[in-house]
Amino acid sequence: MNANLPVAATITGVRSLTADTTLFTLTCNDRAAAGKVASFLPGQFLELSLPGIGEIPVSYCGLPSAEGTIELCIRHLGHVTSPLHRATPGDAVGVRGPFGHGFPLDSYENQDLLLIAGGLGMAPLRSLLLALLEQRRRWGELTLLYGAREMGALLFLEELQQLALRSDITIQLAVDRRTHCLEGPPGCRVALLPALLEQLTIRVERTCAALCGPPVVYPYLVSGLKRIGLSDERIHLSLERHMKCGLGRCGHCAVGTLLCCCDGPVFSHARLRGIEGALA
């Protein structure tokens, strides 16, 4: 099997989340291939091909599915994602994956979990959140801190507000700045993520943190978590790099001497410690 070769998939759903971000639902055309590409661990990624345009790495955003349905949350920013803005149900794409290592669910057993998402980082963490909720009893307390730059940029807002009604999860939403037109939904504050972190009470000896956000926020979050008392081994972050092949060959996703595509994209902070430029 040629690992470079995408399998055919069709866009079956297009849901605009914000002005520049869309949730796509894809379905693999071939059932046998679907089993492989749609079986993943939250935090892993796939390579999405738009014929004639190119291929990009994208995190899985939903739950693994035996039917080969894949959810991808995409911001229209790059040379492949911008044309995807015009994609409609029925359009053909290609997918290959899953690649890399996801969040270490097995080591989360019986632990309190603190998910911290910034901006588009909510996409892979939604996958993790849904997976955690699916087997809710395996974990201790569940907390999600999610910050975006403004109200209109909060992804999956309705879904998260619904989830916030549950008693077995705490969800805190925050925006960097207030915008003129919108009142904040209940529970949404104007604050930066590190500030939310400071007001949090957690049991450090049994808490694991899963982070995904823009590089700029990582140093603040990591130092915030360490100040609370969390050890490097208990902090996992998903790093952004341009994984062009997914197979450890193209050389674009190196973090120190680690490769984001094969060793990551989810790393424990213990593994990244001391690697200059790893976080931001």
Partner: protein, 328 residues
């Protein structure tokens, strides 16, 4: 020690026999004075004394630009038809053979790359020894990689001691039987420079912080010549071109260069290697530390091309030696 031996005056016959088995390429000096691998026409002798070709033999395995997938809307993405023909590379030096050995590890390991594999299987590698010059470091700092070859011609006195390094080489040796005589050699006469083994560089994740990064990178022009001429530089970009019919496309693999700003760029223009010093250090890590599954395996084979090509006269080797000694 008894060895298979071919006297130098039989070289034309040897080349003639090899030519029966495929297209023969060897180092040739062009009219421009540049030595490069090129088809060896009948009656021409290869430039065996030239130390290094401008471009390494990786061009036979990883052309600067090649199609890795084709797309048509009725068939989706497909593997391209790679047409290969038997190709014999004659006169490869041990460093270049080691370079091919390294590329094999990258592209023929887990999930072998079919395009590379097709090209590789059509190659016959015939090596020969050489004498290092001031740019070479195979004798000082060779790669722990083994040189992969089918035949090796060790130049000794009036001819070549011939040894085989693969089943294909054994078979080839049989077809050369008429040229081969047996000769006694002193057992320690191994005048070929595979060099001594490099001590493994330090394996810690941390590079000692050296001012040298800034200082060396300050001289670097960022031209990327060192990477282009490197026998083990394989970083590639992936490009896709849509056909004008709107129904087809081609996906290409294209040499990339870690000294270019675009190398670590992500969508939106952010880059994880904004400074030249960071890119320079990336190159050092790749050459002397190795990445991912080849972490810990230095990929510098000591061919000296980068040192010769560098317009600023930069040399990563002293840095590697300093780091190896733990001096910061």
């Amino acid at each position: 020690m008894s060895v298979h031996f071919i006297t130098a005056n039989r070289l034309p016959q040897l080349l003639h026999l090899l030519r029966q088995r495929g297209e023969l390429h060897a180092p040739l000096r062009g009219a421009d004075g540049v030595v490069r691998f090129a088809p060896l026409a009948a009656g021409t002798l290869p430039e065996l004394d030239a130390l290094r070709t401008l471009l390494p033999p990786k061009i036979y395995l990883l052309p600067p630009r090649e199609t890795i997938l084709t797309y048509r809307d009725d068939t989706n993405y497909q593997e391209p038809q790679v047409t290969t023909f038997p190709l014999i590379l004659f006169g490869l030096h041990p460093c270049d053979l080691a370079g091919i050995g390294y590329l094999d590890r990258i592209f023929l390991g887990e999930d072998p790359d079919p395009v590379y594999a097709a090209r590789r299987s059509s190659l016959t590698l015939i090596g020969t020894n050489c004498t290092p010059d001031q740019f070479c470091s195979c004798h000082l700092q060779p790669s722990p990689l083994s040189a992969s070859h089918d035949l090796f011609l060790q130049r000794i006195d009036d001819g070549f001691a011939v040894s085989s390094g693969s089943p294909g080489g054994d078979e080839l040796l049989e077809t050369l039987a008429e040229l081969i005589e047996e000769r006694e050699l002193a057992a320690d006469d191994t005048r070929r420079f595979f060099g001594s083994q490099l001590k493994q560089p330090p394996q810690s994740e941390l590079d000692p912080y050296l001012l040298d990064w800034q200082e060396l990178a300050g001289h670097c022009l960022g031209c990327g010549a060192c990477s282009i001429c490197c026998p083990t530089c394989y970083c590639f970009d992936v490009l896709e071109f849509g056909g004008l019919d709107g129904r087809s496309a081609e996906r290409l693999r294209h040499w990339d260069n870690c000294l270019f700003k675009s190398h670590a760029q992500v969508a939106g223009g952010a880059s994880f290697q904004k400074d030249r010093a960071q890119r320079f250090r990336y190159r050092y890590r790749h050459k002397y530390r190795g990445f991912g599954q080849l972490k810990g395996i230095p990929s510098c084979v000591g061919c000296g091309r980068c040192r010769e090509a560098c317009l600023a006269g930069l040399d990563l080797r002293p840095l590697a030696e300093r780091l190896e000694r733990g001096v910061s």
